[in-house]
């Protein structure tokens, strides 16, 4: 159970030439600058576009293969798609929008509407079931779109910038909800996003697309450690740590804990800028609340600065001056103390 795709598509000035492999139950984020081919890639997987060369295989079923003259149209792919602009049918109520896919997959009207209501209830929209899309807020509309995509129980879930049309106040809540649904989702999920926070919160793995090609793939921490391009460095330049908050203490999923000003409670993402991480040869005194021992994994000079990868719990990337590298003798294998002030850590509900 998995998705294997290699796609060569020429659309105007864009030449997409990307290969991708995703296991069932895995959620990956497709990130990259504007015009990199992210949406084109989703279109290929959905069957709204055909590959010029390559092959798309889902759960051992060939969906697109020009060499074998195979093309399965979107309506026959086990698919759920959430669009950036939602694309709810304006003439149908929320519940009928969600029931649409169930009806198309052969359920009778009554069953389809009942299950659609269940899905709306699950997403906290029971009261809006009869509303037309025009009467919904951006966040509500995006929830309906998510319910509509999930209701027919797809094997392949494609989300195109699912949070970008949602206003900031509703975003954190929706992101958390989306994460919950993705964790429960048994099939293959792909999320296109330009926001590293969304990528880290929603996906197990990132695939970076630039100018139609996959330039890098891996967990955000791997990308941050060895960015393959300037864009990746900017994207993954910050340390993103996932954990569970309890007031001012965040227990990190990967081990270790951080003190922060206040993170409330529940799952959070902690963002630590590399410039906020200080390295010391001896245990530092003073105010930093977060101090732990680590070991230098690597040093990547960037002009007068250097990015230092430090292993430990947690592992982090620190940005220090080239002078500090020389002064502290930072080199792979060297033991250091890592310090971060609690006030330098931002947390987001994740």
């Amino acid at each position: 159970m998995s998705l294997r795709a290699s796609a060569t598509v020429r659309r105007g000035t864009l030449a997409l030439d990307a290969a991708l492999e995703v296991r069932a139950g895995e959620a990956i984020a497709v990130v990259g600058p504007n015009g990199a081919g992210k949406t084109t890639l989703l279109g290929v997987l959905a069957g709204l576009l055909a590959v010029d060369a390559g092959r798309v295989v889902l759960d051992d079923v060939v969906l697109d293969d020009p060499a074998a003259d195979v093309f399965v149209p979107p309506e026959r792919r086990p698919l759920g798609m959430v669009f950036q602009d939602q694309r709810l049918f304006p003439h149908l109520s929320a519940v009928d929008n969600v029931a649409f896919g169930l009806r198309c997959r052969g359920q009778d009207a009554e069953t389809a509407r009942r299950r659609a209501r269940e899905w709306l209830g699950r997403l906290g929209l029971a009261a809006e079931a009869e509303a037309l899309p025009g009467a919904l807020s951006g966040g509500q509309a995006q929830r309906v779109a998510l319910a509509r995509a999930l209701a027919p129980d797809p094997r392949l879930l494609l989300l195109d910038e699912p949070l970008s049309a949602v206003d900031v106040s509703a975003r954190a809540g929706l992101r958390r909800e989306l994460r919950r649904h993705l964790e429960q989702f048994a099939g293959v999920a792909l999320v296109v996003t330009h926001d590293p926070l969304d990528a880290a919160a929603l996906a197990d793995r990132l695939v970076v697309l630039e100018a139609g090609r996959v330039v890098q793939s891996g967990a955000l921490v791997d990308l941050a450690a060895r960015p393959a391009s300037r864009w990746v460095a900017d994207l993954a330049g910050v340390n993103l740590l996932r954990g569970v908050a309890d007031g001012s203490r965040v227990r990190l999923d990967g081990g270790g804990e951080l003190f922060v000003p206040d993170a409330g409670s529940g799952a959070v993402l902690a963002v630590v800028h590399p410039r906020a991480v200080t390295l010391h040869r001896t245990r530092p005194d003073g105010t930093p609340r977060n101090v732990w021992r680590g070991q230098v994994d690597g040093v990547d000079p960037e002009g007068s600065r250097a990015r230092v990868r430090v292993g430990g719990t947690p592992a982090l990337v620190a940005e220090v001056t080239a002078a500090a590298v020389a002064e502290l003798g930072l080199a792979p294998g060297v033991e250091v103390w890592v310090a971060v002030k609690a006030t330098e850590i931002a947390t987001y509900p994740g």
Binding site: G80, R87, H91, F100, C104, R148
Partner: protein
């Protein structure tokens, strides 16, 4: 006290105002004359005369049938023109458009040559199905459809072009076959154009004169429609012709009111 808001006085050339006034008078004066000279006392009598009632019936039957036929055939035609690419599509669009600019009497002559008893298609229709079109009600329906359908096709084609294709893509990702997409997404989206196109083609069919009289004749009680009855009445009983004209004017005004949002409202 807040000063009254002022706008600079509009400066319009006098010649433009005069010509615009003449232009408007060209529409207004004849319509006023029609209402002014209507023998209202005789209206009931003229309207309920057997010939008038027969003409009204023939007109309604023919124009509504022509509208139904225009929707039935024009919908697929508009869809093909708006949504598919094939060589000769522009030519097809031109041919569809032609009856709008063609003198209706020429259309009538062409219909006679095609579907008349000795027409290139008509002789087979009669030989195989015993179907005779000229000077019959179906013939009048055909003539009116010929003239009216382009209005439906053009209106709907515009609607189909501006309909949101992204919504159709969304429907396909939900498992909708092309037919389901058309029925449950496209059709509801173009409903306003569909209604406007149907009303417009109905109005055109109702007023049809040239093609109908050429192809279907002017047989009172059989193929004589309202416009033909008006013309015939003016020779013998002018007051009846005027009353029937006012009826047609009333219908046209009703159509205009029904569609005012579409054409008269400025965004």
């Amino acid at each position: 006290m807040t000063p009254r808001s002022r706008t600079p006085p509009a400066r319009v050339p006098v010649a433009v105002v005069v010509l615009a006034g003449v232009g408007a008078a060209l529409f207004v004066v004849p319509l006023l004359a029609l209402l002014w000279r209507t023998p209202w006392a005789l209206a009931r009598q003229a309207l309920f005369a057997p010939e008038a009632l027969a003409a009204l019936r023939v007109s309604l039957v023919c124009s509504l049938s022509a509208t139904a036929l225009s929707v039935l055939l024009g919908l697929p035609l508009a869809w093909v023109q708006a949504r598919t690419e094939f060589p000769g599509r522009d030519l097809l669009r031109g041919v569809t458009m032609l009856p709008v600019v063609l003198p209706p009497v020429v259309g009538g002559v062409a219909l006679l040559l095609a579907f008349g008893r000795r027409g290139i298609a008509g002789q087979w229709l009669e030989a195989w199905f015993g179907l005779r079109l000229p000077f019959t009600i179906p013939g009048a329906v055909l003539a009116e459809t010929f003239v009216a359908m382009p209005f439906f096709v053009l209106t709907l084609e515009g609607g189909l072009r501006s309909a949101d294709r992204d919504l159709e893509d969304a429907a396909r990702t939900l498992g909708a076959t092309p037919w389901v997409v058309f029925r449950r997404v496209t059709l509801p989206l173009v409903r306003p154009s569909l209604l406007a196109g149907a009303v417009l083609s109905w109005a055109r069919a109702l007023g049809e004169f040239g093609a109908t009289i050429t192809f279907a004749g002017n047989v009172p009680g059989r193929t004589q429609t309202m416009p033909l009855a008006v013309y015939a009445a003016l020779e013998s009983r002018p007051e009846a012709g005027i009353v029937l004209s006012v009826v047609l004017l009333g219908i046209s005004l009703a159509v205009l009111v029904a569609l005012r949002r579409r054409w008269l409202a400025v965004a």
